[in-house]
Amino acid sequence: MTLVISVCVAVIFGTSIYLMLSKELKSVAMGVFLLGHAANLCILAQSGSPLIVGDDGMVESIKRPPILGQGEPEAAPLDLLVDPLPQALILTAIVISFGVMAFLLTLLVKTARSQGTLDLDELAVNPNEDDGPASVPVQSEDDENRTTHGPQPDRGNDPEKGEPA
């Protein structure tokens, strides 16, 4: 059982990395989504095999849900229960990966709207790209410049200051 899960983790992880290396940002987002699943399965595998194996090596039954007071045998009841902690961890991790996914999709939509493309190559060689920092703070003085980016050293040239030496 553990082996099956391990193989699943490996396959999902590999697929997800393959997708993340793609140039198309939609595939990248799918890769990120799959990555979370690989991690969750990996944690699930940490709770050990769900099977109870008897002395003769045969599978007797599967483990019980981790709820005490349900008529479990008195002797060593914990051995017969599934470890609940990894599941609690997975629950937290799922919520977090939802958050990351929501953010990434929002970013994708925003990129598509403002750049008109979701291809990383086209994003990179955008001809009217700016090489400067996104918000060199020239805006505080000239409000009409707020939408432009990049350094604009000729703005705000004040005659009072005089010419440079």
């Binding site: 902690l85 703070p137 350094p151 440079p164």
Partner: protein, 557 residues
């Protein structure tokens, strides 16, 4: 009504910014109230962190443990405030205050309206949680909170360059976060616990008992964790995301990121590696980790500074410099992992192992670097206000135009270089001295890096401040000074702290070395978290059978 006991105040370090973040969502349309809530929150958190830190120093390195919901330590989540966490939280909050003040005058109003204030507070929640948590899975949560806020801060404004870099940053950090999550799961599978003190206890007991050895795959797990924190800390060869990303940020945010975020990664390595995930017990990983850390430290600091010297824009120089300085911290940890646990430094420094000494230097350097790096970024913001650009070819004449800024920049730059008695000296000298007899290559590289750091800082100084004006003057100096008072206040605050770190280094050394002692010998930390029975078997197997109390993994398979 009486106040809660002192240790439970630690939780407020997380609660205050969280509440402030939520409140500033409510008043998002009022700039005044957003700022007022933000400043109040940071001031309260800073005051609390400082007060608790002073309490720790007064009590000779006590450890404050707050158990969430009163669940006892290995089972519930514990928040732990010791010297290491304390000094870093305090430095982080001081930096946050300065960057926040700086943002009042430097941030584009459009960016500010787009949820800058709540995101800033949520970032602080994540940073503080990562610093004080005593639980590996909770650390993952802290990281994710911090990263989500940083993703969003990275993309508000969304210039084209910013958007493109955002993908690089987000994807790399998502991948690192996932590996951290898997490693946390595997740690639970191997040791049956996620509590850091409990982990340290189990591993120390295995080391002390010659009949037991660490589980198979322990080294692989350690390397996976190291990989995660190396991405976060921008170690070689995983630093490529950093210069481009920080370069595109609005300067107040860039200053905060440059000062804080990489140090969270380094902090985690300090917290988790020496003696725990770099264990030298049977089947341990300390050999592998020591070599990896030593090589990466040397290359990080030297290539980082070469990269910085070759840049020709102030922002790029500073961003690449972040990497180089992280190399020093990695060198300190590498020395601590490399040397024998009990080895003592010769000469005048007595009563402290080399490992504790090196970690102490690393902590000092971290604190110094958080403060000074942010100060330099914020100075760069003011230089851009004057000149309209950060291109060194177009800068010039700033010394004549703004003497105050020049003085602030000079002090910060020389602190970074490490001129005695300024603050950079204190950490570097300890790291170099600790490495001298064991890893002298690292120490030599450290000295060379220091010289090149001086070169890169002089480059900014001579082009930006000393040069005659290169271009028509973009801004009238008096106008810049009048409209950017809060920005000057932020920079001055950080420079004042940097001066204190240099001239008052005695007090800082005391805390840093205390942190070093507690990391090199974790007995006090384990006892504080788990109680006296936690350290009963640390010196090897007791006369009674140890298995009854020490193996939660067997109870919960």
């Amino acid at each position: 009504m009486s106040l809660p006991p002192l240790n439970d105040w630690v939780a407020l370090l997380i609660v205050i910014p969280l509440v402030a973040g939520l409140l500033s969502l409510v008043v998002i349309n009022s700039r005044f109230w957003s700022r007022a809530i933000g400043v109040t929150s940071i001031l309260l958190t800073l005051g609390l962190a400082l007060g608790l830190l002073l309490h720790l120093t007064a009590n000779d390195g006590a450890v404050l443990v707050s158990e969430m919901g009163d669940w006892k330590a290995p089972f519930g989540i514990a928040l732990i405030y010791d010297s290491l966490s304390g000094i870093l939280v305090t430095a982080a909050m001081a930096t946050a205050l300065a960057a926040y003040l700086h943002s009042f005058s430097s941030l584009d109003p459009g960016v500010e309206r787009r949820y800058f204030h709540p995101l800033f507070q949520f970032l602080l929640v994540g940073v503080n949680l990562s610093f004080v948590t005593g639980d590996l899975f909770n650390l993952f949560v802290g990281y994710e909170v911090m990263l989500m806020a940083s993703y969003a801060l990275l993309t508000i404004g969304s210039g084209k360059a910013q958007l493109r870099q955002a993908y690089k940053y987000v994807l790399l950090n998502v991948l690192a976060g996932t590996i951290l999550l898997m490693s946390a799961g595997m740690t639970y599978g191997m040791f049956g616990t996620l509590n850091m003190a409990d982990l340290a206890r189990i591993i120390a007991e295995i080391e002390a008992d010659p009949t037991r050895e660490l589980p198979a795959g322990f080294t692989a797990l350690s390397v996976m964790l190291l990989l995660v924190f190396a991405v976060k800390g921008a170690f070689f060869p995983l630093w490529f995301w950093l210069p481009d990303t920080y370069y595109t940020l609005p300067i107040a945010i860039g200053g905060l990121f440059g000062g804080l975020l990489t140090k969270v990664g380094v902090y985690t390595i300090v917290r988790l590696f020496p003696g725990v995930f770099a264990s030298d017990g049977a089947g341990g990983s300390s050999d592998v980790i020591a070599v990896v850390l030593a090589v990466t430290a040397g290359v990080t600091m030297f290539l980082g500074v070469l990269g910085a010297v070759s840049q020709h824009r102030v922002r790029k120089i500073l961003a690449v410099h972040v990497i180089s300085q992280v190399g020093y911290m990695a060198a300190g940890i590498a020395v601590a992992v490399w040397v024998d646990r009990g080895a003592v430094l010769g000469g005048q420094v007595t009563g402290r192992t080399i490992a504790a000494f090196a970690i102490g230097g690393c902590v000092f350097h971290m604190v110094h670097n958080i403060i000074v790096k942010c100060a330099l970024f914020l100075c760069c913001g003011l230089m851009e206000k004057h000149a309209g650009t950060d291109d060194l070819d177009k800068l010039g004449g700033l010394l004549k135009r703004d003497v105050f800024l020049a003085v602030l920049f000079f002090i910060a730059a020389m602190s970074l270089v490490g001129f005695p008695p300024l603050s950079g000296f204190g950490g570097k000298i300890v790291i170099i001295q600790a490495g001298w007899s064991n890893l002298w290559v690292l120490s030599v590289l450290g000295l060379l890096t220091g010289a090149l750091t001086l070169l890169s800082m002089l480059k900014i100084w001579s082009y930006g401040f000393w040069n005659p004006d290169q271009a028509p003057v973009a801004r009238q100096p008096s106008h810049v000074k009048a409209t950017n008072r809060s920005a000057y206040l932020g920079v001055a605050l950080l420079v004042a702290i940097a001066l204190f770190l240099g001239f008052g280094s005695e007090a800082v050394y005391e805390i840093a070395f205390n942190a070093g002692d507690q990391i090199a010998d974790r007995t006090a930390y384990i006892e504080a978290v788990l109680g006296p029975e936690g350290i009963a078997n640390l010196d090897g197997p007791a006369t009674v059978e140890p298995s009854a109390t020490t193996q939660p993994a067997e109870v919960l398979p």
